[in-house]
Symmetry: C2
Subunit: 225 residues, 2 copies
DNA sequence: TAAAATAATATTGTATACACGATTTTAAAT
DNA sequence: ATTTAAAATCGTGTATACAATATTATTTTA
């Protein structure tokens, strides 16, 4: 096993299974658990200081979200992401992000537009400062506002899920030379189209952005082949 | 409570939670449980002759799939579908079915194409015979082959989930005058474009089909307003 | 020594027991 | 009669216990 999990702090009012689920998901996306690694219920439960019951329910959820793979009677394994997976995910995302951008161009509020512009400025500042943690935070906030502006909660959650499925490897893509600035520029273009209420322009900008992101991700995964 | 559930037959090798999950999902989609109805774990467990554990895990899954809504410490309720939900779902489906049709036009095998044509013929025969059960069966098989042909398993499962979320009310849409024949014709057009490997044509046909299905569904839900 | 069979162990699947919180019912007071 | 408070009831949340199965280790046999 790669690393440790911190014990669950049950200060919250939320069900344990939720906390446990987030804890394991976090551990998967931040690399504490490696792809293919086996997750054993008793071990996880002990490390987090809870019983197997909430752990099991959390694992069921993670299975649906695609973070783990369950083989009945055999156990649970951290999902391994393949080239094929990335292709599938970005095939769908190109389509859904295009949809979301078009809807946002029609439905976004002035407040949200202002927030997007502010986040873009912050994004640039953190690139200059080289603060990776903040960059990820601002990027996440940016997409959150964008997808909210589509006014389609299901669309929002489907895209979020697809995004999360590649978070474990997105780090590599972000450290790809020049990719951060490209990302910012592509976001800038997208926001400008949305601000102009140009649906077609926004859709194209979104598609281009996703296709570039996929391309970089692929490059950073298969570096020297 | 509306109706009864049959006890789970554990002839199978699959985990109980899977069987229980399908049983409850079936009961929701076929109307045994009404929207808004409360689902109580002990009661469900007793009716199916199992313990609460697999029932709970099944409910977690159904929550992720959108069939039930859980309020912590309060209970589980059958999800109620609203006009807003339908709008959201079909907004996404128009986009994803378009994608799937385009991919299928590129990737379908001759065998699959043959199957689609055969299913279309059967569809027409069952319309003439007025056999609703068989119509649903053939329709499901048709879409299954189509989405498989897209060669994108995630896309397949996302669309399937969106489809299932409206199954509880799709019955009304299917009994809408003339809709079945329209459906068949639209499928015919789609298959012809796919057979001709015409990606753009297939995409358009798919979009039109979904938009029409949504329109009919809306009509049949708000009949006299 | 290698392969197969059998025993031991570990882990998942399911059931049950207990704890906590919410809701409802009942009683009392205004 | 209505409102409030308290207690009882009911259901979910969590923990633990038991059963079934898969894996590993060991022993036996070729």
């Amino acid at each position: 096993m790669a690393g440790h999990l911190q014990p669950i702090k049950l200060d919250s009012y939320r069900p344990l299974r939720e906390l446990v689920c987030e804890c394991i998901r976090q551990a998967i996306t931040d690399g504490t658990f490696s792809p293919g690694e086996r997750l054993m219920e008793i071990q996880l439960a002990d490390e987090m200081g809870v019983s197997r019951t909430p752990v099991r329910e959390a694992i069921r959820k993670l299975e649906l979200e695609g973070f783990v793979v369950m083989i009945p009677r055999r156990g649970t394994y951290v999902a391994d992401i393949s080239i094929r997976d990335i292709t599938e995910i970005y095939e769908i995302r190109a389509c859904l992000d295009e949809l979301a951008a078009g809807l946002a161009a029609e439905r976004i509020t002035d407040d949200e537009l202002e927030t997007l512009n502010r986040l873009l400025v912050e994004f640039g500042q953190y690139i200059t400062a080289g603060d990776m943690e903040k960059i990820v935070e601002v990027d996440t906030a940016f997409h959150e506002v964008l997808y909210t502006a589509s006014r389609n909660a299901r669309l929002h959650s489907i895209i979020n899920n697809l995004r999360e499925q590649v978070t474990s490897i997105r780090g590599r893509s972000m450290s790809y030379p020049g990719r951060l600035n490209d990302t910012m520029n592509e976001h800038r273009i997208l926001v400008d189209f949305i601000a102009a209420r140009d649906v077609e322009g926004a859709r194209n900008a979104a598609r281009v952005h996703i296709e570039n992101a996929e391309h970089t991700l692929m490059q950073s995964i298969t570096p020297s082949r």
